[in-house]
Amino acid sequence: MGKLFAVVLTIIALVSAYPIVVHKYVQPVDISTHGHAIDEQLSDTMAEAGFAFLGAQLLLAFFVWKFSNRKDGSKVTHLPGGAKLMVATAFILVGTEVLALGVLGQKAWADVYFTAPKPDAMQVQVQAGQFAFYFRYPGADGKFAPLHPDKIDEGNGNYFGLDPANDVEARDDIVTAELAIPINREIHLLMHAKDVGHSFYVRELRIQQDFVPGLDLSLHFTATKTGKYEIVCTQLCGLGHYNMKAYLNVLAQEDFDKWLKEKASEQ
């Protein structure tokens, strides 16, 4: 019975590892300049955790096999050094693993989140509100007009709370429901939460960042492939959370210029 258990353990461990080893679950296409570092880090983490998992399971199966069916009256023996040495060894092994992942991973993470965008990055404001994303481009003057929450009038298309009657800067601001960006240009996304916590996630960009009401958070990235990708909210934000999405549209520079001009005329 003990030997059968050892065999089952081995089979479970190997079958679980198989789809990972043969890369059965492929990552979605990466369209960002930094995404490869995130992907490499993810596969390093998977390899390290996978080896630890397989090693532990196979060792367990080996001991179950070797020490099953012991004769009555035989004594249990321990490795030399007793429990203290075992705990210390486990602590050092796991600690090294976690530390190594942290040190290596810190770079992949920090390159996206802890560095400043280049000064010439294109600024776009994104507002997350129950239950839609809206985007704002500063227009010809290059300035974002101040927001007045009391002016929000969604039935009239004023999702941000602009006051064009009194703020001259607001008159050329371009508000859209789609995030169109030019290819190979760094984008500096200024994140604004209108009501509760939300999250900005584009899997192809390998970017995920929460919106926190009251905090001015930002993101920067450069997209390298044209196409339309889904932006979803990944922070449960209320009744319509499942429906909270928008599209990222990466365009060639001339197509983007055309798009922005068209949107400006609709304001």
């Binding site: 969604e154 298309g157 999405k245 928008a246």
Partner: protein
């Protein structure tokens, strides 16, 4: 023979009274046009890409409806009603219908009477959330998944109530809860007619969701038709 004469005479009296009852409501009429002066805000196209089942129902994008204008400066979606001078009336038995189709409210402004049955239907492939925002009536907020039967409700106090959908922020409409049956909502030409007004002095109010309201005093005598026009001042922002 005598029986027959009585019978005919009786029928005659009945017919006369029926005509009298039928003719009673046909009093005076107030009619006119609602127009604007100045430059109204531009209607903006609505991007429904987050809801493909709605976006594909519109060959060209629909536009915002807070200010809808027609030919010759006419103003649509203005509720013109008798705000004073007419007695309060009990609600008619038929229900009024408010539809959600293509992620829009149809009609944009729905006028009905106090305690009249309001029937709200979802004709879309997606869930909607109807959230009227009254100040004096009771507030509620209900979800309506696709395929569910229409929901009904009533309002017991006269009020103008903005309506929004919590799932689709661009969806916006209005309920106008009226205390009598003398009301009209202007359509394409901006014109309105308030018929069957008994002789008397009335206050006529025209209400627009962005431009506020205006009133005029009108005195009706007999079965005359009086013309009343309203001009709202439009603002570009």
């Amino acid at each position: 023979m005598r029986m027959k004469q009585v019978y005919i005479a009786g029928l005659g009296v009945l017919a006369a009274s029926a005509i009298a009852v039928y003719a009673a409501p046909s009093g005076g009429t107030i009619s006119g046009k609602v127009t604007y002066q100045g430059t109204p805000a531009k209607a903006k196209p609505i991007d429904m890409s987050k809801e493909p089942s709605c976006a594909k129902q519109h060959a060209t994008p629909v536009t915002t409806e807070t200010v809808v204008t027609g030919p010759n400066n006419s103003l649509e979606n203005v509720v013109v009603y008798v705000s004073a001078g007419a007695p309060d009336e009990s609600a008619p038995s038929e229900a009024v219908k408010f539809d959600q189709k293509g992620c829009q409210y149809i009609p944009h402004v729905l006028a009905f009477q106090v305690n009249q049955t309001l029937e709200i239907a979802n004709d879309d492939q997606t869930s909607h959330n109807i959230h009227p925002l009254p100040r004096i009536n009771r507030e509620w907020n209900k979800s309506q998944p696709p395929g569910t039967p229409p929901m009904t409700d009533k309002y017991d106090k006269p009020e103008f109530i903005p309506v929004k959908c919590n799932i689709h922020p661009w969806m916006h409409g209005n309920f106008a809860v009226m205390k009598n049956s003398h009301y009209a909502v202007t359509q394409g030409e901006g014109s309105f007619t308030l018929p069957n007004l008994p002789p008397g002095k009335y206050t006529i109010t025209a209400w627009h969701e962005s431009y506020g309201d205006q009133t005029q005093e009108v005195t009706i005598s007999g079965s005359e038709t009086k013309s009343v026009n309203f001009v709202f001042k439009a603002k570009p922002y």
